[in-house]
Symmetry: D3
Subunit: 248 residues, 6 copies
């Protein structure tokens, strides 16, 4: 691996055991992209969340000494679970997946881990964090960063985007238009998110009749590009700061 | 979806919720590819298992009314877990992942499910089957087929390939040479699998010093192609017979 | 129970089985207060969270046809777990407690449930919600509201209180000065919350050296009273709206 | 804390983290009161069990260097679960609560723990003990005493009280008359406990039609006082002997 | 099976599936003997508990329409776990074994079940009962009796036997002398059970230095026979009463 | 124990704690026989699997320094679970039983363990192995051999016995005729095993209408004897090789 002049990201599943053994682990960042298979309106594909997370990961991975793990393109879904095509994992499955992968990285000598998820459901995030928490308790060398790219992208709400923009809305539609334009249908739906605050209800999907939150009529690939640039830039800064590692 | 003239496989993450709702479910086959992130000798990439399963799935998917689920590129690994780079899931994680996905498919009205795994560890297979078993117990409309492509490919041992060929050996090397040639290193190792029969031991990897079973010196993409053709052909016949569905 | 002229809250543990049987269940709200046993700076007691939740519950309980369940004065604590005196429950214990109590209420014919927690850790909240979620999945008549009083109190940050006020800070100190003044020590510490964003770390308490977030020097019982009034008022409105029940 | 002249019990939730840190742990006894929310006849409140345990704890706590933990006012209920108002926890919830609290005490350097429960159901007791057992296995410095005050109070059956007195009977009614007289209804029911011996049945409550065991017609606060005196006295002796600590 | 003239017990593992199908299930009693593999003094074998339970079961089985299940010769052991040769199951294993067997009997149409255990540890008994409880909750036709033969044999303490007789003592020694005399060593140890009351401790075996409770010097097969006669007689009466079935 | 001239196997439940303590552990082999309670055709008893395993164990036990543990005469059954009389354990029960027993042996200083099961269902085998795997991970001195006697007996298929012989067939019938002839009914059924390959289905028993696989018309005790001789001989060689211990 020593003389290789790498440009793109290094994917864990594309290197050999020997390559892996030769990686310098102390400043290495392992990155796990996570998504969901979930309804995202009549215009966006079920894999919308994973596509965004994987795109962001592709862009940040080559800026650090890093290794990109195979994605988990499933997540724990509650709100949109009632819509056709959503295939949700249980809380426990997401948690134990997160625990297993992070623990196995530590067993392999990799202690800096970024879990980036395109799905930002609160249960899903809690499951990823709980898995990370348990791994950290067992191996105190670990430093794990768990976030959704929407923890960053939503900074732009109230600025370029509406305060009410959300699931399948203007931001998300613009991003998919940027990265997978052929998968976006021509319809540009508009919908609101009227789930009673703080309520745990049997059928939350009834309160989002269009299955989305926001007005997608002005979504564009250019906006999508700007959002991704913003997310990537901000995320790189956070990584440098949180892990104390520099860009390559 | 009605007027679409599809050629390649239909990937679940690329269609919308509405597309999904419009699929005719009664003869639809959902296909879940599963792999591992596991040492495969000094010449093959860690993602070897998933690559083979996904290749087979790509080829069979367009021959049936089917939908391809996002892959799980991890598995439960025991024998090769001690080698660098193996990231194993626990038995329970694989089991509950299998249960969740199959149950969610049934909840969505999809009852024919094929789980095809490129990793064939006995614990891993048992976990996938136990998850399927539990899903079937809860929804008796389900018909689930769980197998490794090696349940088929190993038919060729004792014929074109050595009886002792196995993990990372001639068959596996040939197949990766066929589908992802750039990922195969130039070395062509040879190794034997001397794990004491029936033993559960703390470090089974000690008994496979080269990390592979077989002689890879004569592996070739042509042989890989023939193996995959055989696997695809035989699997299509099994699918037709087991699910009672015809090719499109 | 019919001719009773009740003034204060009705506590479940103070009524008999027969009293309980005679309650009209359809508009009845069951309220579960939850707290924690957790470090809250050098000046506030370990039971700070429960005290606030129980105070709010006392005040709202008499405004609705309601029944107050015995409190759980423990919670899942991560950030402040490393400080002396924190006695944390596991995620699973909080989750199963939440599930059990809500399920048992449903078994008893009570379907409107408010879980109000004074501890607002994200894992703790996720555990309470997951327990509620599982109960709702099993009994679809249930409507459960799960929130922390800090989901409301923090509305006041950036207004009367600093944006950075948090754990053991000005708001929390003021509230305890209002409701349990004798338990507040004379020191008025000041501290900052410098936990790296999105990080799961072995010792987060190192990043909050004073064990609090905020400047408590201007805390006062009067401010505490105003906060509680605000929380109570806003919570009553939410209850009316979410459950469709009117004040008595 | 050193110059404090304490009279009443020291409640863990009323002291600060710093106070806690300064406690001398080697002879300190942590006391956890546990109850239930369970039918206790037409005359006694649902919280009867917790009230008794908390009263006993209040009385013994000031006689030893001790700290009283917040109570758990719920328990695992089987026999009376079928009556209105019983809110039972599962065996696992009680067990893991017991484990968590005791383990966290040990993590904080507190190794002498008394769990006193007013509810004495055999499953409930087993759950508390199993939680304690697991904690002890992980931290062998721990010494845990788990009992119900009825393990002591029933010494008085066959003496001042009937051999058949039990749940909601003469003893229990007298004790609540002593400590919470306003909560006892005027009716003085009489009932028998005819559950077939050793049987696990779907509806055990059918065999205790009055929901109690005993004749409450002669219950009195004076008798209640005598019972509590007896329990407190005997329990103090057991504590001294079992933990090797002296009264203050 | 109809014309069979059976004398001894009917063992489930000795009959065929067809025989089983032809059994009249409504008055049939299934009997599960349970024991332990546990230290019982220097004179008694590790399997002492199972031997007694199986002997009692052999004797009662032919008196009722019954079927004897294969024994579980293991149990959950705490007190004597620290002595050589004790092989304890976990609480959860015993519980789930009990649940599985009883549930499977119900699935087969057998609803009257007796679980008789020679090991009477409180955790072990609780595990058997909890398994039975969960099975009964899922199938309300079930009637399950769970007891130890020592729940009956200890009636004789304070009469023919010492009040302090217990584990490996006079009663137990006499019973094994009666049923498996060759397995009893010549030594007749004497020991006392000084485990501090109600304590959960890391090494309870330290408080029973001889590993037994009682004076075995006067144990005899004749006494053993009388105890077993008593247990069998009393158990038969309980069975008749609890299940409403008559002797054959 | 030192001067004992033992001939038959040493059963763990027949020796005392002191005997156990005095055993030389370093070359000692602990043997756990496992079976099932499962339909085996109209002619063979439900306990068929355990009988074979226990017979083999009896024969091999006296050839090594060994100790025979009490059998588990239950297993996890899937294929034949739908037939009358099958009493199946769950996967988790078998796994935790295996884990508990093996872990407890290691705690007692016994590190060589053979688990021999007469039931060879793939889930059942996986459960036994997973339990062993977890025990080995916790105690790396352990060496555990897990196999079914059918892993050996099926060597004889395609030779003396039909390739299609299986559950309840010629081999199994012959073996039971050899060891428990009175338990075999006179009928000699013939049946085929037509479960669709690799399928997980709700009612697999529908595909084996006679409940057996094979032609039992030529089964004989002599053949049974030869099979057992073969199994015993081969197993002894495997034990010597895998554990490095010599015959006594």
């Amino acid at each position: 691996m020593s003389v290789r002049s790498r440009r793109g990201p290094r994917f864990a599943d594309e290197i050999t055991s020997k390559d892996f053994a030769e990686l310098k682990k102390d400043k290495l960042l392992a990155i796990l992209p996570v998504g969901s298979l979930e309804e995202h309106g009549e215009h966006l594909p079920l894999g919308t969340d994973a596509m965004q997370a994987e795109e962001v990961v592709r862009r940040i991975a080559s800026r650090f000494e890093s290794i990109v793990l195979p994605p988990l393109r499933y997540g724990e879904c509650r709100t949109a679970r009632g819509f056709p095509g959503t295939v949700s994992l249980s809380f426990e499955t997401v948690q134990s997946f997160s625990f297993d992968v992070i623990s196995e990285l530590a067993r392999n000598g990799v202690f800096n881990v970024l879990v980036l998820t395109g799905h930002a459901g609160s249960g899903h995030m809690a499951a990823l964090r709980l898995g990370a928490q348990r791994a950290v308790e067992q191996n105190q060398k670990l430093k794990v960063m768990v976030l959704s790219d929407y923890d960053i992208a939503y900074d732009l709400r109230g600025k370029e985007f509406s305060e009410n923009d959300g699931h399948g809305g203007d931001i998300e539609t613009s991003r998919i238009l940027n990265i997978r334009p052929k998968l976006v249908k021509r319809s540009r739906p508009k919908g609101s998110w009227d789930i009673p605050e703080f309520m745990v209800l049997p059928h939350p999907e009834k309160y989002i009749p269009a299955g989305i939150a926001g007005d997608t009529s002005k979504a564009s690939p250019e906006k999508g590009k700007r959002i991704d640039d913003y997310v990537v830039d901000r995320l790189c800064k956070l990584i440098s700061k949180n892990f104390g590692i520099r860009r390559v």
